[in-house]
């Protein structure tokens, strides 16, 4: 079986994936799978999905040749897949459009979501406003502080943002609380999971919705360069923008590189390198690499980027890692901050801190590559949401020096 044919009918990517959830949710997952499979066969759904991605989200997003970044790094030609130019400023809305259309087909009046950086929460609040559905978003209180403006955006669009004070007060705990809400209100609520994580069919379905990124990039690079790229590079928290970019290239001779958050450094224990240093386990409904201790307790992740600050990862990435089809590296908070400044300075594009991790890795590999090589970088989101946080860091550094 080729990698593109996965998952199998029970949602397994090799040993990864599956459904590890309370019985209460199993019937809803069956229903979701059924509705999704029916929608996939229905041309009207495809038309509707394309319509909203075009006229509402603003797709296709450009594939932009980053000329000055290329010159500055002095190696491979670098293209940016500009998901930052989507409505709401990140790739997340590709998935929320798809899932809100499914929610309508299931005739459920309420949606819930978890959010880390707030991008998925905003993208869910946006489509809930557009389609007139009730929406509650769970967010760790630590993240609410880091991303106060996104909290306001959600509220402005009529959603409730519910603070989660449990555990690490970040994305992991927001997901726990959203799953509990879903188990309680499953009869009239759809849970719009924001990444390629969670129980089957979410990893497959979210990947399919996000694959528009890779399909467009493939066409665009063929048009601009007349050939496929040598490498794709994207950041990985849960991994939805990376899988969306990678998936249409799985059967091609293209290097796939996922970049995780190395936080303060891999040897400090304060990192989010789930694929790099984690081990297989079950978290949030799927078998996948997980940041855990020897006794199977999930560890708290650390990254400067709230969107990468997660001790789990989508099961398909675990499969791609073990099969060797993709490679996974990591970039520290400091390297990401440098990359954040670099892209802002030489291209006039302020990237999300998540995406800055991918740029941080490009800054390492591009100079080592010949000038006729081509890299496509998934610029998953824009950095407006992070400006205040980065300002705080820089201010602090100035005080310390």
């Amino acid at each position: 079986m080729t990698a593109t044919a996965l998952p199998d009918e029970r949602g397994h990517f090799g040993v990864f994936g599956g459904r590890y959830v309370p019985e209460t949710l199993m019937t809803a997952l069956d229903e979701l799978l059924e509705v999704y499979e029916a929608a996939k066969r229905d041309p009207a759904f495809e038309d509707e999905f394309r319509y909203y991605l075009g006229d509402y989200v603003g797709r296709p997003s450009p594939l932009y040749y980053a000329e000055r970044l290329t010159e500055t790094l002095g190696g491979a030609r670098i293209y940016l897949k500009r998901e930052d130019l989507n409505h709401t400023g990140a790739h997340k809305i590709n998935n929320t459009i798809g899932q809100i259309l499914l929610t309508r087909r299931m005739k459920k009046p309420r949606v819930i979501a978890e959010t880390g950086a707030g991008q998925h929460g905003v993208a869910t609040a946006t489509v809930a406003a557009r389609f007139g559905l009730e929406c509650d978003v769970y967010m760790g209180t630590e993240d609410m502080e880091r991303q106060a403006l996104n909290v306001f955006r959600m509220r402005l669009m009529g959603s409730r943002c519910i603070g989660v004070d449990a555990g690490s007060r970040t994305l992991k705990d927001a997901l726990n609380e959203a799953l509990r809400d879903w188990a309680t209100n499953v009869r009239h609520t759809h849970y719009i999971i924001g990444s390629v994580a969670g129980p089957h069919p979410f990893p497959m379905m979210v990947r399919d919705f996000q694959s528009v990124i890779g399909r467009e990039a493939r066409e665009q690079i063929l048009e601009k360069e007349g050939r496929l790229p040598d490498a794709l590079v994207a950041c990985v928290g849960g991994g939805s923008n990376a899988i969306g970019l990678f998936h249409p290239f799985l059967d091609d001779d293209v290097r796939l590189v996922g970049v995780e958050g190395a936080g303060h450094g891999l040897d400090t224990g304060l990192h989010a390198a789930t694929l790099g240093l984690g081990t297989p386990g079950v978290l949030h409904g799927a078998m996948s690499y997980t940041g855990q201790d020897a006794n199977g307790q999930i560890q708290v992740a650390h990254s400067i980027s709230a969107g990468l600050d997660y001790p789990g990862v989508g099961p398909e990435h675990s499969y791609l890692k073990d099969s060797g089809r993709a490679e996974y590296v990591s970039v520290t908070d400091d390297e990401a901050l440098e990359a954040f400044e670099l892209l802002s300075r030489v291209e006039g594009i302020i990237p999300a801190l998540e995406s800055a991790h991918a740029i941080g890795h490009i800054a390492r590999i591009a100079p080592e590559m010949d000038r006729d090589r081509v890299i496509v970088l998934g610029l998953s989101g824009r950095g407006d949401k992070d400006v205040q946080q980065v300002y705080g860091f820089m201010d602090q550094e100035r005080m310390e020096h």
Binding site: T24, G281, I298
Partner: protein, 278 residues
């Protein structure tokens, strides 16, 4: 037949219902846990559900989440819980079922865990995030060592799923009384009698009813619908209320005795178990 099946069989022949209290292992510490199990046995429990703390308990409400955090703060591991059951076995033969999320079992190693757990005197497992579809490996290992694996049904389960659970569960069927997570509630969920009747029509196995049962009155109601009544958060609430008191064991024991008395009212009255209260 293992101890769980024996217990349900002998209760049935005596026309009595099982009382199944749940406590979190390691809350407030493992020594107290061992003493509590002995006390629960003495106060009329028929089977004890011993919670294993996990960092991300998605099926649990705030009460059991707090208990898990306290146990984790004590450094409680699955290995410690297994050892504690071993020490309990010097003082009590009450059937013990571990309620654990799947990941600690995976980290321990399914083969090693089932061997060690059976060796220590554990009788079975309930894994709330493991549906039968993903449970084959654990079930095979547990069967080899004589441990039961109890699967759950919920009010949202379809007929097909109830039958699936019936085929895979051993010991009993864990019936989740409500659509939601664990935690005390003001009353039993609406429709629980229809739900139990539906489950009953698809299985001959004993039915345990849990989630949300929070008072002697509710335990009495539940005992009319089920073969076993599982009470967790309400007991942990009592433990929280009396945390640090020297007579904690007695106070928890008295609460459990009140549940026992409430459940036994049905049997003594000789009412038919199927008759739901109005």
């Amino acid at each position: 037949m293992n101890r769980i099946e024996e217990t349900f069989a002998s209760l049935k022949s005596a026309d009595r219902k099982a009382l199944v209290p749940y406590i979190m292992a390691g809350d407030p510490d493992l020594e107290t846990t061992a003493a509590l199990v002995v006390e629960l046995d003495r106060r009329g429990a028929d089977l004890v559900e011993l919670g294993v703390p996990f960092s991300d308990p998605i099926a649990d409400g705030p009460t059991i989440q707090r208990a898990a955090l306290r146990a984790l703060d004590q450094g409680t591991t699955l290995r410690d819980v297994v050892d504690t059951v071993g020490s309990i076995r010097e003082r009590s033969e009450i059937p013990i079922v571990l309620m654990t999320y799947y990941n600690p079992v995976l980290a321990y190693g399914i083969g090693d865990f089932s061997r060690d757990a059976a060796g220590a005197g554990v009788d079975g497992l309930i894994v709330p995030d493991l549906p039968p579809e993903e449970g084959a490996e654990l079930s095979v290992a547990c069967r080899r060592h004589g441990l039961t694996v109890v699967f759950l049904v919920a009010p949202t389960s379809t007929t097909d799923r109830i039958e699936l659970v019936n085929r895979h569960t051993t010991g009993f069927v864990y019936c989740v009384s409500l659509t939601g997570v664990t935690g005390a509630r003001g009353k039993l969920a609406d429709g629980v009698d229809e739900f139990m009747a539906q489950v009953r029509s698809h299985t001959d196995r004993p039915l345990g009813l849990g989630f949300g049962i929070s008072s002697p009155e509710q335990a009495n109601e539940a005992s009319r619908l089920a073969d076993g009544v599982i009470v967790g958060s309400a007991i942990i609430n009592v433990m929280e209320e009396h945390a640090g008191k020297p007579d904690l064991l007695r106070l928890v024991g008295e609460y459990v005795a009140s549940l026992r008395a409430a459940i036994d009212r049905t049997g003594i009255d000789g009412k038919t178990p199927a008759a739901a209260p109005g």
